[in-house]
Symmetry: C3
Subunit: 165 residues, 3 copies
């Protein structure tokens, strides 16, 4: 796969066709970004599961059971919500950063490995944060992996476009 990818990448001479299915780097971005979008949306459903399991609802109109009051500070629900917020803080900027990184026509092998590692790291982050909490530094390492990859892509793009400051 990687060999094919970098061969195809070398064949492309026009700088205008980065965001097409003919670019294997873009296809790899498509697949792994889709995985991360689905992972993020599943956090909403995981929050809903916790809310029904512990009967914790934040709005008057959500009180599906008798004798309930709105409640906001349940640790099981809030843990999932913190993990979800952390996703938004990190994955959403990564989506934009990795998308525009593709426009710099990076080495296909490097780019695809970055996409795969960053995505798998965030899946691990969710598992050790929201699904089955484990001792640190597991979550810090998973968090740092995507963060450092995003910083690397930022450095590549910024150096390439520095004259447009």
């Amino acid at each position: 796969m990687s060999a094919t990818a970098s061969n195809t990448s070398r064949m492309m001479t026009s700088p205008g066709d980065m965001f097409t299915l003919e670019n294997p780097v873009f296809c790899c971005y498509l697949f792994w970004s889709t995985v991360l979008v689905v992972k993020m949306l599943l956090m909403s459903l995981l929050t809903a599961v916790q809310r029904f399991r512990y009967k914790i609802f934040p709005n008057q109109e959500d009180l599906f059971f008798k004798n309930l009051e709105v409640q906001f500070d349940d640790p099981h629900v809030e843990r999932v919500r913190r993990a979800h917020r952390n996703d938004m803080e990190n994955i959403l900027p990564y989506f934009i950063m990795s998308l525009i990184y593709i426009s710099t026509n990076p080495n296909a092998d490097v780019a695809c490995i970055l996409f795969r590692v960053a995505s798998v790291a965030r899946i691990i982050h969710t598992l050790v944060y929201a699904v089955y909490p484990v001792p640190q530094p597991s979550r810090i390492l998973a968090f740092a992996t995507m963060l450092l990859i995003t910083f690397y892509m930022a450095a590549v793009v910024a150096l390439r476009t520095l004259s447009f400051i």
Copy 2:
């Protein structure tokens, strides 16, 4: 409109020109994404309206009236903030998912209907959550509509790019 859209779509043979104003699917994405961006930004202003109406401010430097303390738990302000957070959790991943879905050259009629339905559903979500709360399941249905559409697009993109895992 739909007939024109799918005709134009069929005429495009090059896979490299998806993200241009000549692609009616991209134009439809542009229009409805713009509507959703404006809707999201209006949530900030709606929060500000609630803060001034109920004189609830979270920072020392925001206390524009005498004898006020910072306050965080007003139900009117928090309801708008929950709706706003729900927008970020769902609409921001949708922006990326629907944008990259366009690169798979979907049927123009299907794609445009998905964009329209998802966007209108989220406008309804805001109305029944933050503007005028109504009993469930109105909000759940509006929420599920965009969620299912995003999952559908994710399935299309993932199946198309599965070999780049």
Copy 3:
């Protein structure tokens, strides 16, 4: 820089090559969006700094020091978190809005100035909110600057694509 940018822009006749490094407007977007991505990610690290400085941790597994309890309402940590959330509410929609605004082939000078002003305004917003709080209306002005620029881009894109409603 500006003169070169608009010359290059005028030379481009094909509408399909907006999202390439040959388009100076896209390059300017790349640079300033990268700056904003890095700025947003630094908010996570600033939150971490505040958490360690004041020993405020939200999860049981994060209690790196003896005799600590999880805690959620420290004003120093919460101020940075509010600034970070405000970034997500405003910068993430701006990323999408300004990206799709490029597809309308805007005047290069206007577009580049909008990118620069919006980005610098948000850096100021962070400084006066999370780093060194100063009296209003400094934060409101910084906030309003990117908001109005995003609304302007939304108006341009919506008017161009209104027939695809």
